[in-house]
Subunit: 226 residues, 2 copies
């Protein structure tokens, strides 16, 4: 499984391996998102808000189910394919456990947004059936939009909260990038695929720049200055 | 809201009130089931098993969503209607927190089965649109059937586990009945409705007898002698 070349090249077998890696990483990200969103839903101040957060957890689980079915179609065993990514995602969640409902809401929104960024990144260089799957996942409704109204109304009531939440969001992105780099250091084929995805060698640095830029857009839509 | 008569009678207003109570109790039962199944999924020995338990949680949440939508159609505010049932259901879960994966699986199966029993009980005396809703909930797939194979294979590998799990299941039913009695003591209209549902006055005792009987059937399907 570690037969990827040490310099960028485009062998079909290593590309297949990298796509399996990407889908498996996303599949475990969705399963752990279910787990943590379900837990964070308990921080909700009302039963309605709790049900909305729970609904987001259920949506992430439906993505997990789509991804594992597709992994099976591609000849992978989902649990085995996901195993290399469990530790990094669990570490991310341990380092970013929300202590308030608003932190939980911002984490849901930022995490869902970063996941969508990754889906879009990978959509550019995968086979048509995988691209269709990603399209299906991204167009499913309810991508944490409830977070926008929750955060905007909280910040309107208490403007001092904005700076603190913006810092929190920045920490979330920092930890996510850090864990992604740890994972990529061990996954040669995946690294090669990401480096080649834009036809240049800006590679991971470019990926991080794009994700950071989209994060700024998301902060603006939450009404949080950064 | 406590205007129900102290003797059995059949006033439309108190029947409406009782149906709201029943649907609200089930709605909160489904939301808390989501919460606890999501938590218990972490006890799973494999990622596949964890995803199956998580899938069951998501299914319960979809029932919650159907029920709250129906409560709104009936003119109730779901969060207000659910409020009187929160404490009893949380108490049930506190008293029955599983300490092993098999306890969690048995709890999922028994809890889902008891919920189905309640749905069937209420289906007999509600309006057609509510009856349709209940039918929809009961015919949605995946009612914890994965539990049957999990428990059967565990008991086959370790026959001594059967007695312990059967005792655990009996405790679950006992706590559920106990909490139901606490709730009914405070909900006059609901009590009247349940007493009248079979056209006799066996009432709650009859309800408990039916639920206990179905529990024995479920234990048999799990391969647990009682």
């Amino acid at each position: 499984m570690s037969s990827a070349p040490s310099h960028p090249s485009y062998e079909p077998s290593s590309q297949h391996e990298a796509i399996i890696d990407l889908l498996a990483a996303l599949a475990y990200a969705e399963l752990s998102a279910f787990d943590r969103l379900a837990e964070d839903a308990r921080l909700a101040p009302t039963l309605d808000a709790r049900a909305r957060m729970a609904g987001m957890a259920a949506l992430e689980l439906s993505h997990h189910t789509l991804l594992t079915a597709h992994l099976t179609e591609l000849g992978a065993v989902p649990a085995e394919a996901m195993a290399p990514f469990v530790a990094a995602l669990e570490r991310y969640h341990e380092l970013t456990a929300p202590s308030t409902w608003l932190e939980a809401v911002v984490k849901a929104y930022v995490g869902d947004g970063m996941a969508a960024d990754f889906y879009r990144e990978v959509a550019e260089f995968v086979d048509p059936s995988t691209r269709q799957l990603i399209h299906d996942v991204l167009t499913q409704g309810g991508r944490a939009e409830f977070a926008v109204s929750e955060v905007r109304s909280a910040v309107a009531a208490n403007p001092a909260a904005a700076g603190r939440l913006a810092l929190w969001a920045r920490r979330l992105v920092g930890e996510a990038i850090s864990q992604t780099q740890h994972v990529l250091a061990d996954r040669d084929a995946l690294m090669v695929l990401l480096m080649q995805s834009r036809g240049d060698f800006a590679g991971v640095a470019g990926l991080i720049a794009r994700i950071t830029e989209r994060h700024e857009e998301r902060m603006a839509s939450l009404g949080l200055s950064t």
